[in-house]
Amino acid sequence: MALNKFQIAQRIAKELQDGFYVNLGIGIPTLVANYIPEGMNVVLQSENGLLGMGPFPIEGDEDADLINAGKQTITTLPGSSIFDSAMSFGMIRSGKINLTVLGAMEVSEKGDIANWKIPGKMVKGMGGAMDLVASAKNIIVAMMHTSPSGESKLLETCSLPLTGTRCVKKIVTDLAVIEITLTGFKLIERAPGVTADEIKSKTKANLIVEGNIPEIEI
């Protein structure tokens, strides 16, 4: 059975380590915050200028001056700090953020990512994504394996305008966990009950499958 978006987030949360500073993009990545293991110290960065992002405020406590990069009302935590956008991207650029999780429209087997523009159709802009993918040490993409029309979002080469090149390290989809190696996509784990062959058939690029592939544990 394919994972739902909460399960994708849950699987990604397993990549967290104590002491990590993490930037979570809009959409599924945001949900990862709900699955930080008890007792593990993970600090969330929001690129609009906050380290130590807390949960949504209790109703009535919303403050228009305190939002995350998704423009949602949030809270601070003990140990939080606020800074301007130059410092925010300064710490991103200098590699202080240990893990970046973001969504994508396409990922190539070289680790290229496209997630900001569909020519002639949609031009929302790249926001902070280009800065994040150009500098982050460890980038995980969270996305559905295929588009709503069933097309693979994992490709030999991206067809959409790129956000960054050779930067994605791992992809967690509803069907699989895939690592990007020097020789391309490599299947690491599969969704419970989903076969390696099914994943292969839904991946429009070579998929390396070596030995027994374990199921994703969530």
């Binding site: 929001s46 690129e47 609009n48 200028g49 906050l50 949960p55 949504f56 405020p57 209790i58 109703e59 009535g60 406590d61 919303e62 403050d63 228009a64 001056d65 305190l66 939002i67 995350n68 990069a69 998704g70 423009k71 949602q72 009302t73 949030i74 601070t76 606020i82 800074f83 301007d84 956008s85 130059a86 925010s88 991207f89 300064g90 991103i92 650029r93 290229d112 031009v123 929302k124 802009g125 790249m126 926001g127 902070g128 994504a129 280009m130 800065d131 150009a134 500098s135 305008p161 790129l162 956000t163 960054g164 090149t165 050779r166």
Partner: protein, 232 residues
């Protein structure tokens, strides 16, 4: 050296058609509401606006777009504005989308007197088209020029008569950077205080960068995504 202005109309009196403006804020958070309202009233046109976002249809820079006061928009993300998208697709509006960190750092460069900076953001993408690149320590960077703007319109939480400013929470965002970056910096504050009321150790923008300051009124401070949780 009186930096004090009566109100927004007073402060923006000499902004002219065709000029380049920086506008602080992230989404609708920390935007110069009073200055935007005064610009809409003044009807200045052909403006180039540098701002992270373009407001929503009926608030923020969206109000200026609706009146077709903006010729060109330089931003990093414009996904919340249908009228913007219409003008863009119809070719009425010129748009330059740039990475958010590049936007921030090009402001910083202007404020710190650095003519250009190197950033890896956009390398290998269409953002790099026509730009000079250079490799340092095996990594490729784009050369990006400091911004040049006629005015910065900045929203602060508190400011004193010398122009020292502090911002509240994430309403800080681009405001202190733009405050340093333009030829003339106009600041609206929620609370104007006397010199000496702000602790010199905790000033976000030193007064030397601020040319005009006024007490803002009627802040709406609209929330784009009201997200809440139940009491645990």
């Amino acid at each position: 050296m009186n930096k004090l202005n009566k109100n927004a109309e007073d402060a923006i009196f000499d902004i002219e058609d065709g000029q380049t403006l920086m506008l602080g804020g992230f989404g609708l958070c920390g935007i110069p509401e009073n200055c935007i309202a005064a610009l809409v009233k003044k009807g200045t046109t052909n403006l180039t606006c540098i701002s992270n976002n373009a407001g929503v249809d009926d608030f923020g820079i969206g109000l200026m777009l609706k009146q077709k006061q903006v010729k060109k928009m330089i931003a990093s993300y414009v996904g919340e504005n249908a009228e913007f998208e219409r003008q863009l697709l119809s070719g009425e509006l010129e748009v330059e989308l740039i990475p958010q960190g590049t936007l921030a750092t090009r402001c910083l460069a202007a404020g710190y007197g650095m003519p250009a900076i190197f950033t890896p953001a956009g390398v290998g993408t269409e953002v790099a088209d026509g730009k000079e690149t250079r490799i340092f320590n095996g990594k490729e960077y784009l050369l990006e020029a400091a911004f040049e703007a006629d005015f910065a319109l900045v929203k602060a939480w508190k400011g004193d008569k010398s122009g020292n400013l502090i911002y509240k929470d994430t309403a800080r965002n681009f405001n202190p950077l733009m405050a340093m970056a333009a030829k003339i910096t106009i600041v609206e504050v929620e609370e104007l205080v006397e010199d000496g009321e702000l602790d010199p150790n905790f000033i976000h923008t030193p007064g030397v960068y601020v040319h005009r300051i006024f007490q803002g009124i009627n802040y709406e401070k609209r929330i784009e995504q009201r997200t809440v949780r139940k009491v645990d």
